[in-house]
């Protein structure tokens, strides 16, 4: 996916990240190409979310470097959109103003807002307040907001873990379609192996204590994927086996 003569979209080298005396991340490297979708899975406490916060520019207390399109990252960047586990909408703003938050106080009037809302299936909900949205709808608004700045990379921290199974599948399909439409790459933290395999070009398995990347699994299946694809099931078995091995240690 990545063009060979350009720097990769995202290049992460974390030598170490400590919380007090504990080493959370240790010698971790990660590259993501343009338009690539990568999932981070691993046991809880392996530093997945910490890594995501570093890439988001929210956490700068680490040893190492993060480059986006070849330039070092110093704090949050408009090239990176973030979607959290919960929608995190501002309850006093309408749906449109939430989506266009980045454009300032009247951001909801930006023509891109209506277009993004249509893309996530919420056309005509511009003036709705977040309190009237269901969980799935609110997360759609959050996806639209994440895309508003036309980022090259979306970071998603267990974005669909708080919605029911049916809504989750719809939102996964939606994420794939908008990521493709905008040519956006995505780095996704999840604890759902099926989700990781359905969405990703690569699945990175992280090990805990200290957090590091243990293995990489390429999911070389064309999209749209069948969730019952035996190749995915086989990869899932491999992932589970490796995760079980962690438990045994």
């Amino acid at each position: 996916m990545s063009a060979s003569d350009h720097p990769p979209l995202l290049e992460v080298h974390v030598e170490a990240k400590h919380y007090a005396a504990r080493t959370v991340l240790d010698h971790l490297s990660l590259r993501i190409g343009h338009g690539e979708i990568v999932s981070l899975v691993g046991p809880s406490g392996c530093g997945k979310s910490t890594l995501l916060r570093i890439v988001a520019g929210l956490d700068r207390q680490y040893h190492g470097e993060v480059h986006v399109n070849g330039t070092p990252l110093n704090g949050p960047s408009p090239q990176i959109g973030v979607i959290f586990q919960e929608p995190r909408l501002l309850p006093w703003l309408t749906v449109a103003d939430n989506v266009g938050f980045e454009a300032g106080s009247g951001g909801g009037r930006d023509p891109r807002v209506a277009q993004l809302l249509a893309e996530v299936g919420l056309a005509g909900q511009e003036y709705t307040l977040p309190k009237a949205l269901s969980g799935g709808m609110a997360q759609r608004v959050a996806i639209a907001r994440g895309l508003f700045s036309q980022p090259d990379l979306l970071l998603l921290d267990e974005p669909f873990s708080a919605v029911d199974a049916m809504t989750r599948m719809r939102l996964q399909a939606l994420l794939l379609s908008v990521a493709r439409a905008h040519g956006t790459a995505a780095l996704l933290v999840t604890h759902d192996l099926d989700e990781a395999l359905y969405l990703s070009d690569r699945v990175l398995l992280m090990a805990a204590a200290p957090g590091r990347i243990d293995r990489e699994y390429r999911v070389a299946r064309p999209r749209p994927r069948d969730r019952r694809d035996p190749v995915l099931a086989d990869l899932r078995a491999q992932l589970l086996e490796r995760l079980d091995a962690f438990e045994a240690v």
């Binding site: 929210l58 919960e86 309850p91 006093w92 909900q125 307040l129 977040p130 269901s134 719809r170």
Partner: protein, 309 residues
């Protein structure tokens, strides 16, 4: 995208049900066509309405009881005048005299509350935003807060004489502290996750305050403003009892000095009405500004149904 329309359809149905539950007249019109699902909710609502009416009738009944007790000389009328006498007294005072007293008191409250609340907002915001500023000023404010506000009266009289200035200052002091406390606590209580969102969007400190911290703290700030307003009325009476030639507090002390309980009670009734009106106005403002809240609140619910109809 078919999935999306499914979801919004189910949402609309839920919304419609909620509307009918809260709007009895609408539900009655549709009762033939729609099922009985909304019926229990409707009767519960009607039941509550009866209690609301009873709540309004109770003070009227009490006034009637007092009227009877006074007229039959069970209660001597130099202690408690009959409500009709009070109304007559107010009527005889005439609109202009009455308006002068009311205007004098209301203007003092507005000026004092305005000054106190604005100062409290500015200082509270500064202390809420900056830990250093708070560390610097908090001990002073704790000490000042623990002084009963009425203790300032002699000081203010010494410094400012008996003109408007000491009265308005006293009211401002009374209104300042609850508003100040609510602003600091409101800003400190803002969800860390929303502040993080501000960081993601690279907001400057000023923009973070204006676009996230202030709106998120507003519900608590409004509680402080309402407390502050009611304290402003209280301190207005205190100030006018001490030295004034106009106003409802003056009416109170004048009535006591001249042995006219009807004047005293007339002033009390006017204070009750004005206090209720100003709090109602503040609550109206609160509900219209904070319509976005997703809270369990009967008044907000009614307002919401009204908006949608």
């Amino acid at each position: 995208m078919a999935s999306a329309s499914d979801e919004s359809l189910s949402f609309n149905v839920a919304e419609a049900t909620r509307l009918t539950e809260h709007a009895p007249p609408l539900a009655n019109e549709n009762a033939h066509g729609s099922g009985n699902a909304a019926a229990p909710a409707r009767s519960a609502h009607g039941n509550l309405r009866r209690w609301h009416l009873a709540g309004l009738a109770l003070p009227v009944a009490l006034l009637a009881l007092i009227e009877v007790l006074v007229r039959t000389n069970v209660v001597p009328d130099h202690l408690l005048p009959a409500p009709s006498t009070i109304v007559l007294t107010l009527w005889q005072m005439g609109a202009t005299r009455l308006a002068r007293h009311i205007a004098a008191s209301t203007l003092r409250v507005l000026a004092g509350f305005g000054i106190g609340a604005v100062l409290a907002l500015i200082l509270g915001a500064a202390m809420g935003l900056s830990r250093r500023f708070e560390a610097l000023l908090e001990p002073c404010f704790q000490a000042l807060r623990s002084i009963p506000s009425l203790a300032w009266v002699p000081v203010l009289l010494l410094w400012m004489g008996i003109d408007e200035a000491p009265k308005i200052t006293l009211i401002a002091i009374g209104a300042f502290f609850p508003v100040h406390l609510s602003v600091v606590a409101g800003i400190r209580g803002v969800d860390r996750k929303l502040v993080e969102l501000g960081a993601i969007y690279r907001l400057t400190p000023a923009a973070l305050f204006r676009r996230i911290l202030l709106p998120a703290a507003l519900p608590q700030i409004f509680t402080g403003l309402r407390t502050g307003l009611s304290l402003a009325w209280m301190f207005m009476v205190a100030a006018e009892l001490i030295a004034a030639t106009r106003g409802l507090g003056y009416m109170l002390s004048d009535g006591r000095e001249t042995g006219r309980p009807d004047l005293v009670f007339g002033a009390i009734i006017l204070l009750a009405i004005l206090g209720k009106l100003s709090d109602g106005g503040m609550r109206w403002l609160e509900n219209s500004v904070l319509g976005w809240r997703d809270a369990f609140d009967a008044y907000a619910d009614q307002a919401r149904v009204g908006e949608k109809r």
